[in-house]
Symmetry: C2
Subunit: 345 residues, 2 copies
DNA sequence: TTGAAAGCGCTAACAG
DNA sequence: CTGTTAGCGCTTTCAA
């Protein structure tokens, strides 16, 4: 059996990958011992481990994940659903891979795109029987979520309390936006516009933070401009502001991408930032940190979000009967050059 | 498939997903018949198919991909490696999902991130034994590529001829940039700077297109600014231009993101586009199409790239002995408002 | 169209 | 540490 396997590997231009048996044969041991080595399970001595790993390296062996997934009782796989167009999620994924690796779990990615909605992505992911699902900034209805959580542990990240039996991890949007508004109020702004995120994840909380803080300070809120977390909707908001006869002295956008679109559009129209108008964002994603945006924003700690999401998912896999938890992390204002005192009118 | 992708009628808090046997039992048929239905294989009558699918829907059944992958002789899975931070790749993934679905193949995604290099992503992907690997804008050394192509068919997308036994699909970078340069020359520009992509995929070809076209027109090339396809490196290039005592009348950037960073930085410095300086990009990704960027750029047809990449991968899976092919698609200039005639000095 | 039997590569339980 | 036995959920082959 094993010698035949070697022959195949060497002759064909695209060789079939070796199996655990090939590795075992090479080091003169049983498949089971090799299995123990690759699972990091107790048993094999350090020398044995090294010998096995070396042989595997020579052969180019890697455990077959399909076989492993099929056989394992407890899934070590976690499905992650992402929207590829939101800057913040990229940072999150990065952190998630790191954390998952450290904890001995494997991440499987599925993308939600304009032509491929949540339901499709979820359905495909379920085919792999992951131990849990992590939804990053996904828009799932309460109904679908209910059905989903009956089948598999679900952790929703970055979109507030998920309800419907799902765990959730997010930052306190109301508190974050409140910090941004207070920062502007302290600088002396009273006329502060807001760019809303509509039905996007977390948008409702953030808007509430704006309204409450303005009210508490006795400032008149508005105008409130509609948006959808995209750069273009931020640019639209800017155009609507420019169409008014007078600009507010500051704008709070409910995410960085809209803030960037808004800022750049204002700049193109000859409006200086922060001299003529101050702008804040939310997320502290890559765009906020670009030198030519340099946006005062509310930082979500992506490493922490990733860590909490994964530990929650893993805890839930171990005990499927436990209550759904809602973790709310506290965001932090990061002041950059897009905000300043209002200039006298 | 139906809209009720998450349908299930299970009672336990997190129910085990049903198997093919459960579906078969429900409709009083054999597992094999159910299997035929789910594989869209000939045999079962239309009525049988419908009955089976309906039962599956009620139970919330989906075929176990791990089992399927393990047993199938010919893999229907294709691994796609992506860098999550390049705007153009997002469009590409979108198209790929659509094309793969249409052709009956399943895509598995793995992300290359700053903390997770190509080798790691490739290694993980190989564990799933996909039929082929598609590398989107990846940076793989000739050595690694050689080892890789010995194990599995590889298609490199968007980075020119891959060599080392890999198929490749890309657009003609030299021709594309040549079009951009000719467009500027026709407008009357003679002083045209270039923002290079360094070691990034496709950068060498694009640069050659710039140099050759300038030479052919008898124009003196330069300055050539180094970059790495990131917004920030475009911004850096802008700062370096601004530090000179006089600006060129036009800048050709080797991708859209650098063009965007450059444009915005120039605008912040009070330089008008296209009045003071014209700017072109490459890719026609989402950023180029933003209303406040509205960049003249070289369009890569992501749908076509996706289609050719997948058909190539699939052809190679069917016949592993066939020669590696290098497909070169012709890009097309898209003129927007970031270019115009040079203003008299 | 269906049924029976085999087996993909691995993990898991147990006795040595 | 090894060997044995079993089986995850599916596809495949062959025979009915």
């Amino acid at each position: 059996m094993s010698s035949e396997a070697f022959a195949v590997t060497e002759l064909s231009p695209v060789g079939r990958l070796p199996t655990m048996g090939d590795v075992a044969a090479m080091v003169g041991m049983s498949r089971q011992s090799v299995s123990l080595v690759f699972r990091n399970a107790p048993g094999p001595s350090p020398e044995t481990r090294e010998k096995v790993l070396k042989a595997a390296d020579v052969l180019g062996y890697r455990p077959d994940m399909a076989a492993r997934m099929l056989r394992r009782r407890d899934s070590q796989h976690i499905g992650v659903l992402i929207t590829v167009s939101h800057a913040f999620e990229q940072d999150l994924i990065d952190s998630m891979y790191a954390v998952a690796d450290e904890m001995g779990y494997v991440l499987m990615l599925a993308a939600i795109t304009p032509v491929r909605d949540e339901a499709q992505a979820v359905g495909e992911m379920l085919g792999y029987r992951p131990g849990a699902l992590i939804l990053v900034g996904a828009n799932v209805t309460q109904d679908s979520m209910h059905q989903l959580t009956r089948q598999i542990p679900v952790v929703q990240v970055g979109a507030g309390d998920a309800g419907a039996g799902a765990d959730s991890v997010s930052t306190d949007g109301a508190a974050g936006i409140a910090e941004a508004v207070q920062h502007l109020l302290a600088l002396g702004h009273r006329s502060i516009a807001y760019v809303d995120g509509g039905t996007m994840p977390g948008a409702a909380d953030r808007k509430a933070g704006y309204l409450d803080t303005m009210a508490a300070a006795g400032a008149i809120p508005g105008p409130i401009l509609r948006g959808d977390y995209s750069e273009e909707s931020g640019a639209d908001a800017a155009r609507r502001l420019l169409a008014e006869n007078r600009l507010p002295t500051a704008v709070v956008a409910s995410n960085d991408q809209m803030a960037a679109g808004l800022m750049t559009t204002l700049m193109r129209a000859g409006v200086s930032i922060p001299e003529d108008i101050s702008v804040t964002g939310y997320d502290d994603s890559r765009v906020a940190q670009l030198s030519y945006i340099d946006l005062t924003t509310v930082r979500q700690d992506s490493t922490e979000l990733a860590k909490v999401s994964l530990t929650t998912a893993i805890a839930r896999m171990a005990d499927t009967h436990r209550q759904a938890q809602n973790y709310v992390l506290t965001p932090r204002l990061v002041v950059r050059s897009s905000t300043g005192a209002p200039s006298p009118r």
